[in-house]
């Protein structure tokens, strides 16, 4: 009798879960409130290809998105589909079992994705992928083309040339850089944007292989060069907050902004007539490769407990393919993680080109899995450095010692 009830329930259950596969209404959550119109267009396209599935867009504020999402998922009221963060951000959701595990049999298009892209949405403990990587961000130098032309400056090929250009701008009464470091995380972005080339690929590989630490002379030299070039930041830049720094650049008072490619869209919005260019900060020698810092910032995932897993998978397959990715890149100015995407905007095309020579934005990509995070340490370290209270060696040492609290390769 009991058995019968159970099997009846199972049958009913499978019937119930089979039914919505024919007509599913999915909800999609993201923190990108400003992209509503474009997403609704994408979802309409998706609905044309899959007439039985509709997707509803809902957006929340970026700063509290994580909390809202994990709250909703814990309470069983989460969305069917969602935009997720990466690295540590995906682990907190996946680790709690909220996300549907994915692989290349479920989503064949994942085959062509780059290794770093897939790693960004993979949980380290079980090596399982939980989201389709969506977009990457690049740490580089953004510059004002008009100011560069007016002062006869071009993208620098070596560190010396970089310094000379800064000197020239300063002499002409233009602020070379707009950057300010009163806002904590701006101390982290400038390290990757300005010194990735000096650290070099070999340093990163040795670091990952456990052969070296942040005490490495290559890293210390890079931090030293950061201190050197900060002479061309605005007067009192250590008291200058992020918003002010952005405005110094968009208002044309400063020639360069060292930061992330995510700035490009907001800069263009603040001053549509601004002509911007991007370059990778050079290394010491002309011949050395110029590297940008790269990280993935978002992905598409499905709720492990969605009522329509098949429909959700269809959606994830859709976003992993080039047709969507192309629109995602062109309409929303994202550097899509999907291979083979081309860019209408020359600026984005240039960013994608620079991405070919990169090392990861390592404090975010590799060192945010424990307390203190690499981000905590580098932010504090650079603030002390620029304030004249720490040497580059001390910054490297504080990183290594701090991370050794949880990062196994640094433990003695």
């Amino acid at each position: 009798m009991k058995k019968f009830v159970i099997s009846a329930a199972l049958a009913l259950g499978s019937l119930a879960s089979a039914l919505p596969a024919f007509a599913a209404d999915l909800t999609f959550w993201t923190w990108r409130q400003e992209d509503k119109a474009q997403y609704e267009k994408f979802f309409k396209e998706f609905n044309k290809d899959n007439p039985d599935i509709t997707v509803k867009f809902e957006a929340f504020e970026a700063t509290s998105y994580n909390t809202i999402l994990s709250t909703a998922l814990a309470g069983g009221t989460g969305p069917d589909l969602m935009m997720t963060r990466t690295y540590g951000g995906i682990e907190s959701l996946a680790g709690a079992g909220y996300l549907m595990p994915l692989d290349k049999t479920k989503i064949p298009a994942l085959e062509g994705f780059s290794e770093p892209a897939l790693a960004s949405e993979t949980m380290r403990s079980n090596k399982t992928l939980y989201a389709v990587p969506a977009a990457s961000q690049t740490m580089l130098v953004i510059y004002n083309k008009e100011i560069f032309e007016k002062n006869g400056i071009s993208e620098p090929a070596s560190w010396d040339e970089f310094l000379k250009s800064c000197e020239k701008l300063k002499a002409a009464g233009v602020m070379p850089f707009a950057n300010g470091t009163a806002t904590g995380w701006q101390n982290e972005t400038i390290v990757s944007a300005l010194t990735s080339s000096i650290m070099g690929k070999a340093f990163y590989e040795d670091l990952m292989a456990g052969k070296t630490t942040f005490n490495d002379p290559r890293y210390v030299a890079a931090i030293g060069k950061l201190k050197e070039i900060s002479a061309y930041f605005p007067d009192g830049f250590i008291g200058l907050d992020y918003a002010s720094a952005q405005q110094l650049f968009t208002s044309g008072m400063a020639a360069m902004f060292a930061g992330g490619s995510f700035e490009l869209a907001s800069f263009a919005k603040q001053n549509p007539s601004l002509k911007m260019g991007v370059f990778a900060a050079p290394s010491l020698k002309k011949e050395d490769p110029k590297l940008v810092g790269l990280f993935f910032d978002s992905g598409f995932a499905a709720n492990a407990k969605t009522k329509s897993p098949d429909a959700a998978l269809k959606f994830l397959n859709y976003v992993a393919n080039k047709k969507f990715a192309q629109a995602f890149a062109n309409d929303l100015s994202n550097v899509s993680a999907v291979p083979g995407v081309t860019f209408d905007s020359p600026l984005l095309a240039r960013v994608a080109e620079l991405n070919k020579q990169s090392i990861p934005y390592m404090t975010l990509v590799n060192f945010r899995y424990g307390e203190p995070t690499g981000s905590n340490l580098i932010q504090a370290g650079v603030q002390k450095l620029l304030n004249g209270q720490a040497t580059p060696e001390q910054v490297g040492k504080s990183m290594t010692d701090g991370l050794s609290a949880w990062y196994a390769p640094f433990k003695k």
Partner: protein, 306 residues
């Protein structure tokens, strides 16, 4: 008959008292009791996990890097408390004494000193942030204009000045409060006593020390206790002026900020962590509750003795 009348009256009293009581229980008592309970559990995001005893407390008090941050923030709270004791309560007492003379214009000065108190902390924070801006702030512009350009500083970027800047903004915002509480205390001093003192001495200092100060003791108790509670609950101004990370490198970090950052995470550096967050909340709560009661009792005793 007696019982029905009683019930009717009791029902009426219950109808009056139960709704407000229910509100207090649900939104004040229950959350605070839960906060105590939560500190003993492990948390995965917002989902409660295993009971782990005192592990969260051990973490925030004794384990790197939490212990270091706890101490750092706590020291800053102590600094804030003593700095405000001087800049807010001390200055407030002097101002109250000046206002108490009722010289011409006193009414205007009384209204002026209390004006910032009615403003939102957000307005105060943004206003001072703009004033202290390294390039365009009115403070540095004025210094340069006066030929004192060498004194112009990136006030909010140096660990030597950042927290002080926040304390000064807070003092500007709130000094009117202790001023008017002290003033009310002074105004209650009976004129006979004052007249009697005037015959004894003409020294302003003796008068203040022997008469005014002891007689405004009840006001002092209130003002000191409130300052203590608010100094160790400090959150809004550091959050808005120094940012959630207590920039630069933790120089403006205080317990309230550290608790918030630990509990809800900071988008640019770390994830949310409700376990240690709850433990911190409990510790701050106990610290404030125990010490503010002790301070109140001690100050009260002083009131009676005099």
């Amino acid at each position: 008959m007696f019982t029905t009348r009683l019930t009717g009256r009791n029902l009426w009293i219950a109808a009056l008292i139960l709704p407000p009581l229910a509100f207090m229980c649900l939104f004040l008592v229950y959350p605070i009791l839960s906060a105590f309970a939560y500190a003993f559990y492990e948390w995965h995001g917002l989902a409660r996990g295993e009971f782990i005893g005192l592990a969260n407390f051990h973490k925030v008090l004794f384990e790197y890097p939490f212990s270091e941050r706890t101490v750092n923030a706590f020291v800053h709270n102590i600094f804030v408390f003593f700095a405000l004791m001087v800049l807010q309560n001390g200055v407030g007492f002097v101002l109250a004494y000046c206002l108490w003379r009722e010289l011409p214009g006193a009414r205007f000065h009384r209204i002026a000193v209390f004006l910032p108190v009615v403003l939102s902390t957000v307005i105060v924070a943004i206003l001072w942030k703009l004033f202290l801006h390294p390039l365009f702030g009115v403070v540095n512009i004025s210094l340069r204009g006066l030929g004192l350009g060498f004194l112009a500083q990136p006030w909010q970027g140096q660990d030597t000045t950042a927290l002080t800047a926040i304390v000064v903004a807070n003092a500007w915002h709130m000094v009117g409060f202790p001023t008017l509480v002290f003033l009310a205390g002074m105004q209650r001093i009976p004129t006979e006593i004052l007249d009697a003192v005037r015959m004894e001495t003409e020294s302003e200092w003796v008068k203040v020390r022997k008469i005014v100060w002891p007689l405004v003791a009840p006001s002092a108790t209130v003002v000191f206790t409130l300052l203590f509670v608010s100094a160790f609950n400090f959150f809004e101004l550091p959050f808005l002026m120094g940012g959630v990370d207590g920039s630069p490198h933790g120089a403006t970090d205080v317990l309230g900020l550290y608790f918030y950052r630990t509990a809800f995470g900071s988008m640019s550096a770390s994830a949310e962590n409700f376990g240690p967050g709850s433990a911190l909340a409990v510790l701050i709560f106990l610290f404030i509750a125990i010490l503010s009661s002790a301070i109140t009792l001690w100050l009260r005793k002083r009131e009676i003795q005099l």
